[in-house]
């Protein structure tokens, strides 16, 4: 991963080549200031390691750059990157707090390593770092779950010859407890929304569903539409996947088979085995106004 940047501090020009565990640099937001030039993530890292002073960063310039970055995405047709935008808001707000605290004369602490004496600005640092740490560790969770999805356990039914040896079966719970188990299991995995769904409709990205569709079809080669939407949490996801299929069909990446009218729709992958296949971007709205799960409250 590229981890190079440079900044000027106290008149010295310093080259930074230390490794960074910042996530994906490509396509990410980078900052061009008088005293710093490089990815936003690296800027944070430098500040966090006390290699750069927050008071020397022109936050308004960073914000201007971010706005033009987002405009650029809009213009290029890629649309808003909501995750990047929310993350930027969180980080920028923290930096602002940090800077405000730092500019107060009383905020000066001589011994920076004495964490017992952490001042407001250091707590803010810590908060920011923690936020980033959990983001990064979530990626390892994702990888682990993806791996586990490919491992299947041996689960076998009780052998009838062994069953005959067993005494009476013990259900082990009373009727009330049994009903409670039923209630829990039968509760839909998606909690029924109260009446705010029209306000908080989670938007579905056709492009994102298309990526999932491509991944599934590459793995299974042939799938029925029913199977392809088996885990869909809403009609919207079913529609998005269907639109993605149409776009992929137009690109010649798949084939449809339907033996009888209204019968099972089979989809066979005929596209490339690997590499980026994008579809459905035209269906996604350029601006996403609300996301239920990610409402910044900083």
């Amino acid at each position: 991963m590229q981890a190079k940047g440079s900044f000027v501090k106290y008149g010295l020009h310093v080259e930074i080549t230390e490794e960074t565990n910042a996530p994906e640099v490509s396509g990410a937001f980078s900052v061009h200031l008088d005293n710093f030039d490089g990815p936003f993530d690296l800027l944070l890292q430098l500040i966090s390691r006390h290699r750069m002073d927050i008071t020397e960063v022109a936050l308004s310039a960073v914000t201007d750059e971010f706005i033009s970055f987002i405009r650029g995405l809009e213009a290029s047709g890629e649309g808003w990157k909501l995750d990047q935008a929310t993350e930027f808001l969180v980080v920028a707000a923290t930096l602002l707090d940090l800077k405000a605290a730092r500019l107060l004369p009383s905020g000066e602490v001589e011994d920076e390593t004495d964490l017992a004496l952490l001042e407001a600005r250091d707590l803010l640092f810590a908060r920011l770092l923690q936020y980033r740490a959990f983001k990064e560790i979530a990626a390892t969770f994702h990888d682990r779950i993806a791996l586990e999805d490919r491992i299947f356990a041996r689960v076998v039914a009780l052998d009838p010859s062994l069953a005959s040896l067993l005494p009476e079966v013990l259900i082990g719970v009373g009727a009330e407890r049994f009903a409670a188990i039923a209630e829990r299991v039968l509760t839909p995995k998606i909690t029924p929304a109260v009446a705010i769904e029209h306000l908080h409709m989670p938007l579905v990205s056709v492009a994102e569903e298309a990526r999932w569709v491509v991944e599934s079809l590459r793995k299974s080669k042939t799938m029925s539409f029913r199977h392809l939407v088996a885990d869909a949490e809403s009609t919207l996801v079913v529609v998005a996947r269907f639109l993605a299929l149409l776009d992929l069909y137009r690109q010649g990446a798949l084939r449809f088979d339907q033996v009888v009218a209204l019968g099972e729709l089979q989809i066979s992958w005929t596209g490339s085995e690997s590499g980026e296949v994008s579809a459905g971007e035209e269906f996604d709205l350029p601006v996403v106004p609300i996301d239920t799960e990610e409402t910044p409250n900083v």
Binding site: I171, A179, L186
Partner: protein, 183 residues
């Protein structure tokens, strides 16, 4: 001529599939000639001599079994107090069947979000659940609870099962979604 990749794929399948698998099915899934599959199975079956399990062909299909020499250990395990009690997975599956009967295995799987094949078979073997006809549209086998189930739960009739909260949807969400799309 052995093929380690093929051998391991066969082992992986047979280790996690509960039913005996035929040579033909393996040939189709692994896209190899049946002869090659038979050869691999026979080679594999000779390789577990020092293990507590072996690979055998029974009534047309291949499956891993415990070796009879160790049946006393297996029997003790099964007879151990733990085994006469239902597992959490079995209990959850039984609860779905009890409240949604008659119900197909596919639908129970969809509700529980996991494959319930082995658990259903155990419930049938233990006499708590039995087949109850065929679903008209799909041809799937339907299951219901038995009178032994009522007895073990200490109930007289299914109507004595405690009522569930009224808001639980009775319909399989997927069918609902798909149904609304094809209308």
């Amino acid at each position: 001529m052995s093929n380690p990749e093929l051998d391991s794929s066969i082992e992986a399948i047979l280790m996690v599939v509960d039913e005996p698998v035929t040579e033909l099915t393996l040939a189709q899934v692994l896209e190899r000639p049946t002869d090659e599959i038979i050869e691999a199975l026979e080679r594999l079956s000779l390789g577990y001599e020092s293990n507590g399990f072996h690979l055998r062909k029974v009534s047309g299909g291949w499956r891993f079994y415990s070796r009879p020499e160790f049946s006393s250990a297996v029997e003790r395990f099964v007879l151990d107090g733990q085994q006469s009690r239902l597992t959490q997975a079995a209990l959850e599956t039984l609860a779905v069947i009890a409240y949604r009967q008659p119900v197909s295995r596919a639908r129970v799987s969809a509700i529980r979000g996991v494959n319930v094949e082995a658990v259903m078979k155990t419930l049938v073997t233990r006499g708590l659940v039995e087949e109850s006809g065929i679903e008209h549209e799909s041809g799937a086998i339907l299951y219901k609870t038995t009178s032994y189930f009522l007895e073990r739960l200490g109930l007289n009739a299914l109507t004595d099962l405690p009522a569930l909260a009224p808001y639980l949807p009775d319909l399989d969400r997927l069918d609902e979604i798909l149904g609304s799309l094809t209308d």
